[in-house]
Amino acid sequence: MTESTENRGGFLFRQVGIAPLVVFRILFGVMMFSATLRFILKGWVYEQFVAPEHHLKYPFFEWVPDPTEWVIYLLFALLLISTLFIAIGFLYRIMAITYFLIFSYVELIDATYYLNHYYFISLVAGIMIFLPAGRAFSVDVRMGWVNPKSSVPSYSILSIKGLLALVYFYAGLAKLNPDWILEALPLRLWLPSQSHLPLVGKSLDHLWVAYAFSWLGALYDLSIPFLLSSKRTRKWAYLSVIIFHSLTAMLFQIGMFPWVMIVSTLIFFPEGFHRSILSRLGWKGEGDPFNVHRPSLIQISLILFFAFQILWPWRFLAYPGKLFWTEQGYRLGWRVMLMEKAGYITYRVVDPGTEAEMEVDPSEHLTPVQVKMLATQPDLILQYAHFIEQQMIRNGVDSPQVYADVHVTLQGHGSRRFVDPNVDLSKEKEGFHHKTWVLPYE
């Protein structure tokens, strides 16, 4: 490698080999290409973005427009192209921007499809724009469009590792709750339903297995970033990454997430490992060091980004009540597999002029998946109440009152009323303030 600039830049700017970043770029591109292709082939573009009559938006993102049918297919085609080009490093930065913008837009179309790993991919894609991952073993370098680099400032690789560590550690912290630790919920509900599986199946009927999965899962999430970072434990840690995520892939309907994590965590391996992969593919290791001596806007933004990521999941502490019940501050916090929640919702609309009332069944205009999410998430319940209000006004009802009849079951405990049926939701404002009309859990 080239000369060290360690003494000048501090640990964030220390020069490290570019290979891990390049391998990550290739794997990320290939993986996202397959994920996009899988999504299209399963018919989900149609099912999730074309078929629904109405989309429920994230709070403060109501302005995000719905795509027409040909636009959404075009965007998915662009996702395929951009991920492929990210992998081969063709117009890398433009493709990274394209992928980030389109992927994030697609996620913002409908809040009911929220998955933590989609959010994770969006964040990684966003960071990738600012990392020099296209500066080696890429078409851009081959064509002479950019100067090849042999090393990069260490923050480039640390930011990917940091995000992975954050996801694991916060997912682990989220598991340290009484349901998960003391009751093995929701795993004790989910595991027995998989008892028909070969080999492990029969054991899933045992309660102690649910406890073991819960405890080991929490321990795994909390410790794996550290175990992967330490040279002594890395190989065993990676073996456990493979075992853990393969098990979750088998037991739960979580799609690409296990494979994303199995592939991404390779970045914790030392530079030599990645260099040998690339040289086997024909990389010569040519290029200059990527010298950065003092913080630029990019580095400051990255620091602010991580500060935000560290603080944001804790916002739930600002709300009263049970987090799993009210879900105030639940999203964007790496809370995965934590609850079994289901609800049934109908709205009651009253015309104050005539006192006539009627029932609105959201399932007539929303898909089953949308209704499932709507029925358990207060911000969506409020948003759809306002949508109904607007529709009634358009149909000639003056200032209609909208009430929600919602019953929710959490962690397999019996269903109970979720929101106050006597609160006129058309008068309630959307936003981050505490929603007083959500009934307390007990």
Binding site: W44, L189, W190, P192, Y211, Q253, I254, F257, E357, G412
Partner: protein, 362 residues
């Protein structure tokens, strides 16, 4: 390292305490889903589809007789055959998945209210394709209900001496007969698939069954009671939108519908009604509670309550909507309450998925 060792020992002890603390609860929740599916296929679904096939075939034979010799007695036979087939259909409603879904059971057999203008138009032009989507409200049981019951008995006999009209009745019955025959023969083949798909994902047998069962219950709540009661129309009731408005069989059919749902929930054999392995037993094995009562009991009681509500009505459903509105409202509310148990509590405990799409556990 001694810190780590101590931590490990402490965690192990805590784990043992946590996982063994429940004395009252069972430590395993083993339930034989295959046995449940075999029982449902062999003792409920196949006998019920066979019954539906026989009833619809009988309806067809009787209407052919009526067409050839339109008289009062033969009309009475057809009316009775219609009632029997329609009652048998109520047992098909909860199983509109797999073959039932492929055959579009409800869409073919029971879209109401019937479009009487369309029916009359079909008869007068004499050219119609009953399989066309647009003819959904002009076919099936509701269309027969109109043709056989919209006037008094002798007037209908007189009408049916007109060949085109009698032919329409035969064509309707023939379509239902084909539906019954297909449903039964397809289930003979489907049985082996049904009893071997043991998961709980949306495509598994249990997943498909529970989702179809819930959908059927919501159809009952909305179409059979809610819409006629004015639940979708700012309190404006539409009593004429009940199922079987001309024959007045609405309550009888509704009752049979609930009895069928109850049987499918409890795993009661058809037609003997003897209790077998059912969703109730599955829920009890999983120790599903609602409040401090067993969920299965709550659901069974709710079915009983709905049947009591129906029995409480003094007049036909159509009339009751106008003259016994509060009682129909109670019936509706009890149907609604049952949706909550069937659609949230039950699938949640059973781990049943409603979609193939990825999720990360809410």
């Amino acid at each position: 390292m001694s810190f780590l060792r101590n931590l490990f020992i402490v965690l192990t002890l805590l784990f043992l305490v946590a996982s063994c603390k429940k004395e009252d609860g069972k430590s395993t929740v083993s339930f034989d889903r295959e046995a449940l599916l075999i029982h449902y296929a062999d003792d409920l679904i196949l006998p019920a589809t066979l019954d539906f096939q026989m009833r619809t075939d009988d309806l067809y034979q009787k209407s052919l007789d009526l067409k050839n010799n339109p008289d009062s007695a033969r009309l009475s036979f057809v009316k009775q055959a219609l009632e029997d087939a329609w009652m048998a259909y109520q047992w098909m409603a909860p199983i509109e998945f797999g073959p039932g879904e492929d055959l579009a059971l409800r869409f073919t057999a029971d879209i109401f209210p019937a479009d009487t203008a369309l029916i009359e138009n079909n008869i007068s032009t004499g050219s119609y394709d009953l399989t066309a989507i647009g003819n959904a409200p002009a076919r099936g049981f509701p269309a027969l209900d109109y043709l056989l019951f919209h006037k008094e008995h002798s007037a209908v006999v007189a009408e049916l001496s007109q060949a085109g009209r009698a032919q329409y009745v035969v064509d309707l019955a023939s379509q239902l007969r084909d539906l019954g025959a297909e449903m039964n023969s397809r289930w003979q083949n489907y049985r082996s698939i049904f009893v071997s798909s043991l998961g709980v994902d949306v495509g598994s047998s249990l997943g498909q069954f529970v989702n179809a069962f819930n959908k059927a219950h919501e159809v009952t709540k909305n179409a059979r009671v809610g819409i006629p009661l004015g639940k979708r129309s700012l309190g404006q009731p539409f009593p004429e939108k009940v199922e079987a408005v001309y024959s007045g069989l609405s309550r009888k059919l509704l009752r049979e519908n609930i009895i069928a749902e109850q049987a499918f929930f409890k795993g009661n054999s058809f037609p003997t009604g003897s209790d077998g392995l059912g969703l109730d037993d599955y829920l009890n094995t999983l120790e599903a509670y609602h409040g401090n009562r067993l969920l299965a009991e709550v659901i069974e009681d709710q079915f009983d309550q709905i049947l009591l509500d129906e029995a409480d009505l003094a007049v036909s459903l159509r009339e009751a909507i106008s003259v016994e509105t509060p009682n129909v409202e109670v019936l509706y509310q009890d149907l609604q309450e049952q949706v909550i148990y069937l659609k949230t509590d039950m699938p949640s405990i059973l781990g049943i998925q409603i979609t193939y799409q990825d999720n990360d556990g809410d």
